[in-house]
Symmetry: C2
Subunit: 382 residues, 2 copies
């Protein structure tokens, strides 16, 4: 857990939001009056817990027995005042939320606490509560009775940080059945204030891949999920960053000097650019774009989900990328205003195999990114 | 998460404790006055969190900013009243705790909540806060720069429950480097109100094994960690239990019909009793003893950590066990009063290779069980 010991200051950086979003976050509003009373226990509730619940409009209802409390709020970005009944049970309902996965907390007498009703997820720079707003297309990331790959938890020595680092690796089901076969490998990164658990847990990477491979919609490949929060990667010795180096560069140093060499030693992967990809969401998409442009002969498949950009000018300046890049994939939720489509169209005009994907009805959250992986994986390494 | 959806009633069963322990649990005592002010942030704190802390006598100090609260307690079995300073920050200190790992919670105005200071662990029938009281011999389960095995997360179809089940599998580092080599396999079970995460997370199974194998103190073997809480295993069809069948029997049905066949298909393991072992802690030790006695030709290596028992009479009634059993290992913490030594001595007298281990200075918690695995693993499959 050493890498988690970041100073309070950088923790605050991680959770920093725009002034406007900050106002929204602080805005306290009355509990929403649901138009439908078809609330069901959430998918990520703790064993035996009925609350939190979600209804068919995507409203979130939480409940907490707190007879002694004088104020309880549901904090889902906006703060919804909860009301107490005669038994001291507080109940609050949020306005309908975007489909997909959201981090939240309960505020008891002014103190933010995890909701004891849900299991714990890492996001917003902390382990805390999460809620899944069901979508009509959840099937693709459900655990099904198809040949199951696995998520491998791995520690490894990092010479650039002089510490042990921790990652997750998805292996397709057939990996152990073909002990001499090599596989393509995708390096898949989380967003700001998240960590390597993100894609493995709330991202449902294994289920997305197992289901795609079972349907023969994707070729089997390995996915490496590591920790990329630059501010918390402390490079040492000759790898220590020069004055003013962007924090995000630190992950590039670790990726090139530790992660890729470890993966190419410990796992049966091809080591050429045509079988190596990088993708990421939000901050991880930005890292993907920068790292691919800075290392134009390394990654044949490049995915930027709700983050990162690649202009024609940047592409043309990255000598060799025109030969290396087999696919440049850019996605955005329809509720975001990201230039995925425009940038992909511009790249196509100069003959690049650029693909854009717009996730209909979703915003800057995990369902957009699960769908993006689902789309990207069907085009990768083919 | 389907298997986690247990009814409230059985959740209450899980957390049921003796009347005496219940009284202790409810007892509220003043915050402890530490004799040493050398408190340090705990090993399992969230990123950037200073609290909870532990001092060199094993006292736990928690802190929570809750200006609006009128009462805050630290619940570590006993409830310690916390006190509020002029900034609304509540601080409380527990009496010195036994070394090792403990589940706890914070009670805010009468409402039990997870401590936002720690990451989340499954125990006491819930995901919640944990604290590690450092011991002088923690080195053996630390992550070190030795060849790293991996913890594999795996879903598989269970025909006995007609659902997908979830387990963790430890693979030694050399497993992928020897694609035709077969390995012995240990089925390792958690305790009451815990789950398959226990050995993989707070049990530090991978670190214990990696360090032992690196020191050549243990032979490489595979460890399977699954979910064994009988009350929550709902057998279906022809596997449905007969009237009055003990809940713990349900795990035996799953182990024999689902888990072992899956492991022997998906992993390169030997399939004879001489290369198959079962061990568990507390409730899992009880299951190990019952299952080994009921299936006397299946398990060559049998480990009961702080739970389970094997009398000479039971052993002799289990026809074939005298030929199958290569090792019967029984352990107890010195602060428990379990008959590990007596029972092992009695078995030795009839020629059984029985070994007992007493974990000095530890009680019924994870450090006893980590040490037990450390001892057992050095004797297993040799």
């Amino acid at each position: 857990m050493k890498k988690f010991l970041l100073p309070i200051m950088s923790l605050m950086m991680l959770t920093a939001v725009s002034a406007n979003a900050q106002q929204q976050r602080n805005a306290t509003v009355p509990s929403y009056t649901a138009t439908k009373e078809d609330f069901k226990p959430n998918l990520v509730n703790q064993p035996g817990k009925q609350y939190p619940m979600v209804n068919s409009e995507g409203a979130v209802r939480v409940q907490l027995r707190a007879p002694g409390a004088t104020s309880v709020q549901l904090d889902l970005g906006r703060r919804y005042d909860m009301t107490k009944d005669e038994n001291g049970v507080w109940t609050g309902t949020s306005a309908p939320q975007d489909v997909g996965f959201h981090y939240y907390q309960i505020i008891v007498d002014g103190t933010p606490m995890p909701d004891p009703g849900t299991v714990s997820f890492f996001g917003a720079g902390r382990w805390g509560s999460g809620i899944e707003i069901p979508s009509t297309d959840m099937d693709f990331w459900q655990v099904k009775d198809v040949p199951q790959g696995s998520i491998v938890e791995k520690y490894y020595w990092s010479k650039t940080t002089e510490s042990m680092r921790h990652c997750y690796v998805y292996l397709p089901h057939e990996y152990d059945l073909n002990p001499t076969k090599k596989y393509p490998v995708l390096y898949l990164q989380h967003g700001n204030a998240e960590n390597e658990y993100g894609w493995a847990v709330q991202g449902h990477t294994a289920q997305i891949m197992d289901n795609l491979i079972a349907e023969k919609k994707a070729v089997p490949f390995i996915i490496v999920m590591d920790y990329g929060q630059g501010q918390n990667i402390h490079l040492t010795g000759k790898y220590a960053p020069v004055e003013g180096a962007a924090a995000n560069d630190a992950f590039q140093v670790v990726l090139l000097n530790d992660i890729i060499p470890m993966v190419e030693t410990e796992f049966r992967v091809y080591t050429d650019a045509a079988h190596r990809g990088m993708a990421g969401l939000s901050m991880g998409g930005g890292q993907t774009g920068r790292i691919a442009l800075a290392n134009p002969t390394m990654f044949g498949y490049i995915g930027m989900f709700s983050g990162g950009s690649m202009t024609v000018e940047a592409f043309q300046e990255a000598k060799g990328l025109e030969k290396t890049a087999k696919l440049i994939f850019m996605s955005t939720g329809s509720k975001e205003n990201r230039p995925a489509v425009e940038q992909a169209e511009a790249l196509k005009k100069i003959g690049v195999n650029a693909v854009s994907y717009v996730s209909e009805g979703t915003a800057h959250e995990w369902h957009t990114w699960r769908r993006s992986l689902y789309e990207f994986a069907q085009k990768a390494f083919k």
